[in-house]
């Protein structure tokens, strides 16, 4: 089934600073009267989806917007806490588009395209303008101008924020803009719908098949393009900071219909999350990276020191991030901080009941700047910590541990955000494009909105202007086949009638991934993981128990489909991790490290995007390589010391 796919990134040439502008000037346009003849299916209504739906509708396209939640406002972008980066340089602290570009590409350990990352930095400025105009209540200074703070991996204060609820406020801005278009009749909303297949006709993405989650009915929707904004796949690990309904089903089904999946092993583990307390636990909660502006991370110097934190004197504490990375200190990037936390816990110096935690201590800042300062900046985060743990972080240090938080990998897209299936565009976390092997804090919001507000409105027009799209109806045989496939899949899940629940399988898969495809990986472990995943997948299809029926609201059936897909994707994550014989960013292979335990990249052999093609055999995907060419920056050893 392998085809001669040629990966063409469509990255323009010329000076880096003018590439996007020149590219836009060369893109073909669709006239205002013709725009209304096109229907665009936008799947997912987070930052990328809502901003795309709103902007495309404003241009005059017909938009149908789909989400699995009961309201588009619930998408998981809402939970992003700390902030959004923008190279405004309002602080006069030396920031610039170039610097944001450089920090981001270095933060990604030189595994992203220069032109994409530069465009992202360039557009960051417009995003802040757009959001303020929508009424997003960003934090302000007494003079009435916008406030900023710093985030990991940067030496400037370029992160705009709205208390600890930046994602919520940005999403509500995008959601409001989309609801305005609903009122104008240009966007039709389809909530409580789950996309279960992509319909490809004559090689073009022409529609989707959804399950109506209330009635169980399968529905076909025809479009001239499909814009996938369905987020990342971190829930493959079961315990993660993702929302319970976040899943990989839409991107995975598109992968199986021909879209290449890029860098699936690049998964981010965030250093500051509330630690696991019991085996009943359903999810992990992030404590924003912004807390590391004012909190200091430490463990006791002595192994097995069980004294309460306030009884451990200053000289018996190890502020290990400040010690190991004096320049960036507690604001070392996420991958590096996570590994450092794991290392001290592995040494037996972790704290709390399980020994898998470190302290994040605010007492110095509270002493210097007062409790009110902390309340204003992080009030809701401190409250959330207290709700979950029952401890007061104003009095005792927080206990934190790394957790799965974001996936840099995703469907491969070219510079126009189009996948290897013509007409299928992928935006936000669902694509692989801008963060390389590690994403810097406050950059996810930036990318979701850049893609939705400022990139897709330009590039999708060029696709329409260059493409002949024959008229298609839901009666087309491709829709019928797809409906039959989905129906068969659901019926099969319900008919196994085994003994183990979806939740049990999902937890088991999560443990395998966390143990072998987590913060540190090695060849032997990855081979074990692949074996275990295959065995678990086999057991799943023979011993799964799903209650209820297809023709009703049935959340267990929804989860079963998602876990079935995670069980396939997980194998690809392990295969990709095994093939990449280097350490870069969040992908840390124990065999490839410097003498002091830092990631050791291999630019000679692995300076490429690994894009995998589904061949029909899950164990034998075909690798396509998109070489990464660095014309403007020189990949260096990523040092934060």
């Amino acid at each position: 089934m392998a085809t001669a796919i040629k990966l063409d990134s469509k990255v323009p040439s010329g000076p880096l600073e003018s590439r996007w502008t020149r590219h836009k000037d060369q893109l073909k346009l669709v006239s205002p009267t013709n725009k209304r003849k096109y229907t665009i299916l936008v799947v997912g209504t987070g930052l990328a989806g809502a901003s795309a739906a709103a902007s495309l509708a404003e241009l005059g396209y017909n938009v149908k917007a789909f989400c699995i939640q009961d309201s588009p406002r619930r998408a998981h972008s809402i939970a992003a806490q700390g902030g959004i980066n923008a190279a405004k340089n309002y602080r006069n602290d030396g920031d610039s588009i170039w610097r944001l570009f450089y920090d981001t590409i270095k933060g990604g350990d030189f595994r992203a395209r220069e032109a994409n990352v530069y465009r992202l930095a360039e557009l960051s400025v417009n995003i802040i303008d757009q959001c303020v105009a929508q009424g997003v209540p960003f934090a302000r200074e007494y003079g009435g101008l916008l406030d900023t703070r710093s985030f990991g991996g940067a030496l400037v204060e370029r992160t705009f924020y709205a208390r600890g609820q930046t994602g919520q406020q940005l999403l509500l801005g995008a959601y409001s803009a989309m609801m305005r278009q609903v009122d104008a009749g240009r966007v039709t909303l389809y909530p409580r719908r789950e996309m279960l297949d992509l319909v490809v006709i004559n090689g073009q993405a022409r529609g989707i098949v959804c399950r109506n989650l209330i009635t169980g009915e399968l529905e076909s929707y025809v479009g001239d393009a499909v814009v996938l904004c369905t987020g990342g796949y971190g829930n493959a690990y079961f315990l993660a900071t993702y929302a319970k309904n976040s899943n990989a089903t839409a991107i995975w089904r598109c992968h199986k219909r021909g879209a290449l999946f890029a860098n699936p092993c690049f998964t981010q583990i965030h250093p500051t999350c509330i630690p696991v307390t019991g085996d009943y636990q359903s999810k992990l909660t992030l404590m924003s990276e912004s807390l590391r502006n004012d909190g200091r991370v430490w463990v006791p110097k002595k192994k097995g020191d069980t004294r309460p934190p306030n009884e451990i004197p200053e000289d018996e504490r190890d502020y290990f991030l400040e010690r190991k990375y004096p320049t960036y200190g507690n604001l070392a990037p996420r991958d590096i901080a996570s590994r450092a936390v794991k290392a001290v816990c592995d040494e037996g110096r972790g704290v709390g009941a399980t020994g898998r935690a470190v302290y994040l201590d605010f007492s110095d800042t509270i002493r210097e700047k007062g409790i009110e300062y902390i309340k204003e900046k992080y009030g809701n985060l401190f409250e959330m910590y207290q709700h979950i743990t029952g401890e007061d972080p104003y009095k005792v240090p927080m206990r934190i541990y790394p957790a799965v938080h974001y996936t840099m990998g995703g469907l491969w897209v070219d510079y126009n955000l189009m996948s290897t299936i013509p007409g299928l565009f992928v935006l936000g976390e669902a694509n692989f494009s801008d963060h390389g092997a590690n994403r810097l804090g406050a950059s996810a919001l930036m990318q979701g909105l850049a893609d939705g507000y400022f990139i897709i409105p330009y590039t999708i027009g060029d696709y329409f202007a260059n493409t002949t799209l024959p008229k298609v109806s839901p009666e087309h045989s491709a829709f019928k086949e797809s409906l039959a496939d989905v129906h068969r899949f659901l019926t099969k899940l319900l008919s196994i009638k085994g003994n183990k629940t979806v939740l049990e399988f999902h937890r088991e898969l999560g443990m395998i991934l966390w143990d072998y495809v987590g913060m540190a990986r090695n060849a032997q472990g990855l081979q074990i993981a692949i074996e275990k995943i295959r065995k678990l997948r086999e057991e799943f299809w023979n011993n799964l128990k799903v209650p209820g029926d297809n023709n009703m609201l049935n959340k267990n059936l929804e989860m079963a489909g998602r876990v079935a897909d995670f069980l396939e994707l997980a194998e690809l994550m392990a295969i990709d991790a095994l093939h990449r014989e280097e350490s870069c960013g969040a992908h840390f292979r124990e065999e490839y490290q410097t003498p002091d335990g830092e990631a050791l990249r291999n630019d000679e052999q692995f300076c490429y995007v690994a894009a995998w093609e589904y061949t029909g055999d899950l164990g034998k995907p075909e690798l396509h390589k998109e070489p990464l060419v660095f014309e403007f920056v020189t990949p260096t050893v990523r040092s934060y010391k």
Partner: protein, 251 residues
């Protein structure tokens, strides 16, 4: 301190909108007090599935109190005993060992029950579509710092904008009014300079849509404020009334 607890859950079971519902009581033993209320429902559902009984359907997504997806009545109180929190942020340590906890869906004419604890809150989206926005097309915004906004005003706008749209205010109100939800959005946008051009149209259209959806009127009971997981103040309803009168006078 973590302890083991036994709890009885009295839950509203209703297979679909057309079949009458009823309460069914379940007992769950030896669960950790560190567990959340929704995790307790997860545990119950696992037991039910193993026994071949239908699990309890309930909505939840982020499980960190920000998405607004979860929500039902816990012992008659929207979201549960701890104020200023959503249902997913209620923990067993705040219940008594051996207690019977009653769970039922939000009750309001405008929120029809779909199944068990799941209700349809799409009326809130339709109110937002009627005017909960500032009309600014992508790409037409001036530089962000060209509109200075005093810090106090920005903070007040934020307090209103913090609404998560969960609908607890509606469920708690004896009149099933959506006034707290609607007023939070009206106040958020009316406070800001960017919101001025559409100030009149916005309040008139949103209030009209709220009435159309079958929500009741506000008669100052204050129950909404008491259950709001984001502590949105009832003073926003006063702002909404002022805005509404102002809009009527200006017509």
């Amino acid at each position: 301190m973590t302890k083991k607890m036994t709890l009885h859950l009295r839950i509203w079971r209703q297979p679909n909108p057309h079949t009458p519902g009823r309460f069914v009581t379940y007992t769950i033993r030896d669960v950790s007090s560190d567990m959340s209320l929704l995790e307790l429902l997860d545990v119950l559902n696992e037991e039910l599935i193993k026994k071949g009984e239908p699990p309890v359907e309930f909505d939840s997504d982020c499980r960190e109190g920000i998405c607004g997806t979860c929500g039902f009545l816990v012992n008659g109180v929207a979201h549960g005993p701890k104020r200023g929190r959503t249902a997913c942020q209620q923990y067993l340590r705040d219940f008594k060992d051996g207690e019977t906890i009653t769970l039922e869906p939000f009750r309001a004419k405008a929120f029809p029950v779909i199944k068990d604890l799941v209700v349809d809150r799409s009326a809130l989206d339709r109110i937002m579509a009627a005017g909960g926005y500032i009309s600014v097309n992508t790409g037409s915004a001036p530089d962000a710092n060209s509109i200075p906004i005093p810090k106090e005003i920005a903070e007040q706008a934020f307090d209103a904008a913090a609404c998560i749209g969960c609908g607890a205010c509606v469920a708690a109100c004896p009149n099933a009014s959506a006034s707290l939800f609607v007023s939070a959005k009206i106040a958020h946008l009316a406070l800001l300079p960017q919101g001025q051009p559409e100030r009149i149209r916005r309040v008139l259209r949103m209030v009209e849509q709220m009435d159309k959806e079958g929500f009741g009127d506000c008669s100052n009971h204050g129950e909404c404020e008491a259950v709001c997981p984001k502590n949105i103040s009832i003073k926003h309803i006063a702002i909404m009334r002022r805005e509404y009168l102002r809009a009527l006078w200006s017509l």
